[in-house]
């Protein structure tokens, strides 16, 4: 039994830290720490810095412009990024489409699309969910009908994260209604500027604009934009679900969130004493800390399995379940720390009008926003189904 990282891994962590301290723009880290929305430019600026260092596409092999990291190195990198309040990179091009093209794309697609993901020329978004197809994704109905050298696409996608910043979308579309629903799905790349595509914002529970719905009306898409074979889309979608999920537990984020709570508790006073002197708040934080420490080890155990080639879908489901629970507990703790002062929507208030530290002003909206964690990426109920299938298999 050995919980230590190797000397090389520790040196790597040190390199990452130095890089982040030197290169991560202060203004961007400040926005992330305060839970503020990032502009398109903020994210592109940070991507360009990572790209210049060769660290942008953490999951890609070297030949395609990735750093060629091991699972452990990827874990260390993402943990340090979270601890330094680096922006969470939109995963759609980097962690989803990229790996799909590398595995299923033809040479032309790899040659043309991958570099444009790396240099920020293209911003990809994801067209999976539909109003009638959420957890039951295979029931999706957006149709792509072959017409000469084109597919004609009709239908609607939803929950399209940061679609407002994107110029491209990869979609799961129905190309056949024969056989099982899973057997008639294809993976198609669509230009958002194409005639017949319309994107509309969805306002979320916190008032923010993070997701969209996308409507397709007789959109003509070149057949060359098909990835893999026609009707192979479900295989590709499933490949993505098991690909690169070592960061799914969000340990770095949770560690940062707990640290943030303790800082806040030392700063604010409630009913005559510092919140950090309230035994009830301290006890709640300590119990969550115990769960987080356990999760940190669970994550390392599963990382060691991944390194030894023994990781499966069940393990990422376990990490997703517990990771999202712990983070939601922490968001809850942070919001409740503010008491009555959590209520005002502080976006328009200046720093000296606020009664709480500026970093904490968005605690309530951020808490509400993070209810999404147990819903997206395969809802926690779907994760339980995946684990149950393994536990109860004949």
């Amino acid at each position: 039994m050995d919980l230590e990282f190797t000397d090389e891994e520790r040196a790597f962590r040190e390199d990452v830290r130095k890089f982040l301290q030197r290169e991560l723009p202060r203004d961007i880290a400040g926005k992330v720490a305060a839970g503020k929305d990032l502009e398109r430019d903020d994210i592109l600026r940070w991507q360009a810095i990572l790209h210049a260092r060769g660290w942008l596409a953490a999951t890609w092999p070297k030949e395609h412009g990735g750093p060629g990291w091991s699972a452990v190195e990827r874990h260390i990198f993402s943990e340090e990024c979270a601890l330094h309040s680096a922006p969470r990179l939109p995963p759609f091009g980097l962690n989803m489409l990229g790996p799909v093209l590398i595995r299923f794309g033809n040479d032309q697609q790899k040659r043309e699309i991958l570099p444009r993901i790396l240099d920020g020329s293209d911003w990809w978004c994801q067209g999976y969910s539909e109003p009638g197809a959420g957890s039951d994704l295979a029931s999706l109905r957006t149709r792509a009908v072959r017409d000469g050298d084109h597919y004609v696409v009709n239908g609607q996608k939803t929950w399209t994260t940061l679609g407002q910043y994107a110029n491209k979308i990869f979609c799961l579309v129905r190309t056949s209604t024969q056989g099982k629903p899973q057997e008639g799905i294809s993976f198609l790349l669509v230009d958002l500027d194409a005639p017949g595509v319309e994107m509309r914002p969805i306002r979320l529970i916190d008032g923010g604009h993070e997701v969209n719905e996308v409507f397709f009306t007789d959109v003509r898409v070149p057949v060359a934009n098909l990835v893999g074979e026609e009707n192979q889309g479900w295989t590709i979608a499933k490949y993505l679900l098991t690909h690169e999920r070592t960061n799914i537990a969000g340990i770095g984020y949770a560690t940062k969130e707990l640290e943030r709570f303790h800082r806040l508790a030392r700063e604010i006073t409630r009913d005559g004493r510092r919140l950090s002197d309230s035994p009830l708040h301290a006890a709640r934080a300590a119990e969550i800390e115990a769960e987080l420490e356990a999760l940190r080890i669970t994550n390392l155990r599963m990382l060691a399995n991944a390194r030894d080639g023994a990781a499966g879908g069940v393990e990422s489901s376990l990490l997703k379940l517990k990771g999202t629970q712990v983070r939601q507990m922490l968001q809850n703790l942070y919001r409740s720390a503010l008491g009555s002062q959590a209520a005002p929507i502080a976006d328009e208030l200046s720093e000296n009008e606020l009664t709480v530290p500026v970093d904490a002003a968005r605690a309530a909206p951020v808490y509400f926003n993070h209810r999404k964690l147990s819903i997206f990426g395969g809802s926690n109920e779907i994760q339980r189904n995946i684990v149950a299938k393994e536990l109860f298999k004949e």
């Binding site: 039994m1 050995d2 919980l3 230590e4 990282f5 190797t6 962590r13 452990v72 943990e79 340990i251 560690t255 707990l258 640290e259 303790h262 508790a265 030392r266 950090s276 035994p279 301290a282 006890a283 934080a285 300590a286 119990e287 800390e289 115990a290 769960e291 987080l292 420490e293 356990a294 999760l295 940190r296 080890i297 669970t298 390392l300 155990r301 990382l303 060691a304 390194r307 376990l318 379940l321 517990k322 109920e381 339980r384 189904n385 684990v387 149950a388 536990l391 109860f392």
Partner: protein, 368 residues
């Protein structure tokens, strides 16, 4: 980073698991765990022969192991087999005998000829040594003890009991001494989850002084005992979840197996998630033993396992329905053990308070 058992530990774990499976069925266990002397002497000798007791002590002190890893490997199997032999009391007492150079006594305990227990907690003191009230007074060259010790695990039938007592006439912050008494009278009872427990009324009892400043040693022994309990809980919950799944597969209602109901499947998945978390926090405590992070990490583990062990027990009873309530069904005894582990060596609340006391408001240890 490596989470696999070493070859030696795998052997130890396998042989203990096999021994308990072949020689310690639930009938034997229930027959011996609730009636004096609250254990099975022949099982005890066999476990000693297997080397289980010796593995609690470092080689330099007459044993053949003594790391937190050794202890955790053994207790996980004891938990899986629901073994009610007085291992916890023996672990605590033996660690102190060996550390204080009582080599002959320690050797007899390791051989299984002599049994030892540790009397530390009191009716009003769970795990904060600074609150202990029992006192030791030196009269000429004789030490006499007074006060009452409580929850002395394995005391019924023990040959030796070590008593932690405050040195009298030395004021508030007096040092804690460790005293040896031989086969004292005790107020003995079976525990609700099996095994023997006793209170000892010290009323002027004469004792041999082994140490006049033992607080640190005792705290270390207790922390190791807490790690043992955590590992025992992980073993017990693993077995309990396994038999719960078996039961759900087998039991039919409404013309289908219970295992086919999603509401029940999801509850089992949540139990498995928490079991993995309990295993992880036990690993963290084992790794922290003997480092500056020992006390706080052990308390984290004891807190989490106190909460999750009893929750898993309650869920398991519920998922079984009526059968889970019966004495005859083994699962009910596992459930009792898991709940009652939270009552030993400080419960979830005691340990969350200890976490706060040790390092108030500190963020978790930086990633290793």
């Amino acid at each position: 980073m490596d989470f696999n058992l070493s070859e030696d530990h795998q052997l130890l774990s396998d042989s203990l698991r096999r021994f308990l499976a072949e020689n310690y069925d639930i009938e034997t266990r229930n027959r011996t765990a609730y009636a004096a002397p609250f254990h099975a002497p022949e099982t005890w000798s066999a476990l000693a022969e297997l080397g289980v007791i010796g593995a609690f002590v470092p080689e330099g002190q007459g044993g053949y192991g003594g790391t937190a890893d050794d202890v955790a490997v053994i207790f996980e199997e004891l938990g899986r087999g629901l073994c009610s032999e007085p291992m916890l009391g023996t672990l605590l007492g033996l660690r102190l005998l060996a550390a204080l150079g009582q080599t002959d006594l320690a050797a007899r305990v390791i051989d299984g000829e002599t049994r030892v227990a540790l009397a530390v907690s009191e009716p009003q003191v769970a795990c904060d040594l600074s609150c202990l009230q029992a006192t030791a007074r030196c009269e000429g060259d004789v030490w006499r003890l007074s006060g009452r010790k409580s929850a002395v695990y394995g005391a019924p039938g023990a040959d030796l009991v070590l008593v932690v007592a405050r040195l009298a006439d030395a004021g508030e912050n007096a040092a804690l001494g460790l005293f040896l008494i031989h086969a004292p009278e005790s107020i003995a009872a079976p525990m609700i989850d099996g095994g023997g427990i006793a209170d000892i009324v010290l009323d002027g009892l004469q004792a041999e002084c082994l140490s006049t400043d033992c607080a640190e040693l005792v705290e270390d022994a207790l922390d190791l005992g807490r790690i043992a309990l955590c590992a025992e809980a992980v073993g017990a919950m693993s077995h309990l979840i396994e038999i719960t799944i078996d039961y759900l597969r087998q039991r039919k209602q409404f013309g289908r197996t219970l295992a086919s109901f999603q509401a029940l499947q999801h509850r089992v998945v949540d139990m498995v998630v928490e079991r993995e978390q309990c295993r992880s926090i036990t690993i963290a405590a084992v790794a922290a033993y003997g480092t500056p992070a020992q006390a706080r990490t052990v308390s984290m583990a004891k807190n989490l396992i106190g909460r999750m062990g009893s929750w898993i027990a309650e869920e398991a009873i519920q998922l079984h329905g009526g059968i889970g309530m019966t004495w005859e069904y083994p699962g009910s005894h596992y459930a009792k053990r898991l709940v009652m582990i939270d009552h030993q060596l400080g419960d979830r609340n005691d340990h969350v308070l200890r976490m706060i006391r040790l390092k108030p408001g500190a963020p978790p240890a930086e990633a290793a």
